[in-house]
Structure formats: C-alpha cells, structure tokens
Amino acid sequence: MNVWQVLSGAGPVDAVSRQALAFRERFAAWGWGGRDVAAFIDPRAKGFEPLRALRPADDDVLLIHYSAYAPRLRTVLDLPNHKLLLSHNVTPARWLWDHDPPIALQCELGRRQLPEYAARCDLAAGVSAYNAAELGSDVVIPPILDLAGLRGRTPPSGGLRSTSPQSVLFVGRLAPHKRQDEVIRAFALYKQRYAPEARLTLVGEPLNEAYLQALRELADRVGGVEIESSLSQEQLAQRYANASVFVCLSEHEGFCVPLLEAFAADVPVIARPAGGVPETAGDAALLVDDRDPAVVAELIALVQSDQELREELVRRGRARVEHYAPDRAAVALRAAIERVS
C-alpha cells in the first residue's frame, strides 16, 4: 500500500510535521510506500516535498493532516483517491484577533473550512476524541510520540528533583490562547509567598515579535522568568529534567503533547481542563478551572511540598504515558488507513 501524507504547512519543530514524520517511519516499517507533501515548506523542515510532487496512483491513500486554513489543498480533495482526514485542531480566532490579525483570519477560515474538508473525505479522525467529536466522528488516531529521551534524566546537579531549586515549566507556543500571562501571574504569587528563588521557564515559538515583547515585559516585572525558543530536543529534555512542576493554563488544546512529555519526565502537572486536556491528562494532572491565580499558586506550593501528592501524580503520569504508548497509537493509525483503503 502507498500512503501519501498531505500537510498545509511543514515546519522544523511543529507537532504536525513531527507526527507526519513519525507516521512515515511506521509506514516504512509496515512496508508501505508513499511520500509526504506540503503546500508550504519552511526551509528548515526536512523530509517534505512541494504539493506539486503529489502524483498518487488511483489506489493510493491520501492522509490529509488538517491544522490550518488550506485553500491549496482543495485540489487534493478533487482527486479520486480514498482519503483520510486527521484533524489536529485549529485555534479559535477569538484569541488571536487582537494580536495577529492575519493568523486570526487563517484560523477563522480554517475552522470554517474544516467541516467541508471532512465531509469530502472517506473518513475523518481526530488526534483526540475531542477533535474527532468536532467533526461528528469517533475515530481517534493519537499522536505517535517518542518520549524515551525524556525518561530517567536527573537535574544537572545530579541530585533529587525535590532538593533542586523550585522550577516551574510550561512548554507551548508563545501565543495568547496558551495563557502564559496567567502562568506568570500565578508563578509571581507562588514566588512571593513561598519561594523567592523559584524559577519559571516558558518554552515555545513566539506568535510574533510584538507578542513576545509584551510577554517579556510582563516577565520582567516578576523576575525569575526565562523565555526560550527554538530549543533542540536535547535542550527541551533538559528543561523537563530541571522542572519540579509543569503548569499549563492554556484555553484551547486539541491534544496537548507537552502534558505527556511532562508525565514521561516524571514532572507533576497542573492544567486547565480546556479542550482535549482532560482526555489526555486523565487522572494524572491536577485540573484547575479557577481564574484566580492564587489558587494555581497554592497548587504549585502543594505539589512542591507534599511528597505523597508528588509521588502519586508521578505514578499516574507514568500510567498515562503507557496509555499513549507508540505501538497502541500505531494500531489506531493502521486501522483507520485500512478502513479507507
């Protein structure tokens, strides 16, 4: 069998491109052929070809990764091949109009276009049940994640995490809906009340320079906040190893891979139950929908100080990682593709 993967955009670090590459490895292991094409390719991205390279035979399957407005993919829908659409979710524009109108417009159009694309494919699936439900589907193809590099690391000192400086971490695009502003405010209260030496690390690619600057200014008012972008996998793994708690207050997530990364690194997680987060986190995270940053600050303090709580969260986190084991996700992927082929 040949499976062609079609992306609206391919980048060097984005989750969708990484998923497509992980899928391709599985296809190769199953003896399947095909290639991966994208309407837009960041020069730093490897392994993708331009959309014009898409020349499938009639019985080849097209796997369309949908994560953004993609008018150029409309021609792909006209091809006679069997098609599977995998929705990675598109951020609601309401979080972006004030900060990046072109991106907001793309998101608005992308969300409007998604049902039409899904209807024109033989099967629509989501990376989470939350995403699938948006399309009226119950077919879930979870991400295939290689989390091995995050396990078993220790902080640079080599000491136990509980004795290292209190280090709060969030990993996710530096964008309004990820609510790094709330993470910073909760951290500020925690730092003020419990741990003046505490550090907060925010890792992610910025939406744009203006937003990054606004976030930096807020961070500078608090102190102890570091904002980092374009980290290698090795550097990212080290940030997880250094962290004593992971705090995600995002308002919208289709799946939220960083939660599983934190679980894999034995880092307790505090998260807002938005979108696909409750599904991904299961019972392994402290879910908090309070808008009061003081409540989040107190949760951070509890996680840092209560050994029983930490150990239980770490234990449950490891179970979530097992739940999303790559081989299980691969079974779902293969079943969905065989269903449309």
Binding site: A214, E298, E312
Partner: protein, 108 residues
C-alpha cells in the same frame, strides 16, 4: 494528600491569603464582541514593514529585497489600501446608522 483533595485545599489556602498584589502588564482577553470603535480602528489597514522578513538562514538580503519591493510597489498597494479603507469605513457608518435606527424603533 491525594490529588483529588488538592484543589479544595488550594482554594482554602488562596482564600486565606487574599492579599496578593495585582501585576500590571499583558492581560489576554478573547475577542468575542467587537465594539464599533474597535471596528473603525481595524477598518483602516496599515502595512507594517517590520513584518516583512525572511525566515531562512542568512535571510538578511532576502528581507532587504522584500522590503525594497514593498517600497517600490507602495503606490499601488497604497491605492488598494485606501480603496479598501473607504469601503470599510462607509460600511461601518451604515452599520452604525442601522444600529441607531433599530435602537430608536425598540424605544418606541
């Protein structure tokens, strides 16, 4: 403590420490219902030359070229933007008039 007990305990402690100082600066609000003033501000689009850039390694010459092209085509793009702004502003004026009329009708 069990994870299931943590949130209630955090809320209790937060209520005890309700003396936190608000931090000024970036605060995110979703844009759901946009007011007329905001629409008028958005109606007049302005090109930001700072956003014209290249993401390639050693992309400085490409950025310079792109910005040069923006400069060279400014007569045409300026005219297009002006036409679009004219349409947007007149449309918003109509919307404002209609809103006012509906308001008056509802008050009768």
């Amino acid at each position: 403590m069990r994870p299931e007990e943590a949130l209630a305990e955090a809320r209790r402690r937060a209520a005890e420490h309700a003396d936190g100082e608000a931090i000024e600066g970036l605060t995110i609000e979703p844009t759901d219902r946009v007011g007329l003033e905001q629409l008028i501000e958005w109606a007049v689009a302005e090109a930001d030359i700072g956003k014209v850039r290249s993401t390639r390694a050693l992309g400085a010459p490409i950025t310079a070229l792109k910005r040069g092209l923006v400069h060279l085509t400014r007569q045409q793009t300026g005219d297009l933007l002006a036409q679009q702004a004219r349409f947007n502003l007149h449309l918003l004026t109509r919307v404002a008039e209609l809103e006012e009329r509906i308001k008056r009708l509802e008050e009768r």
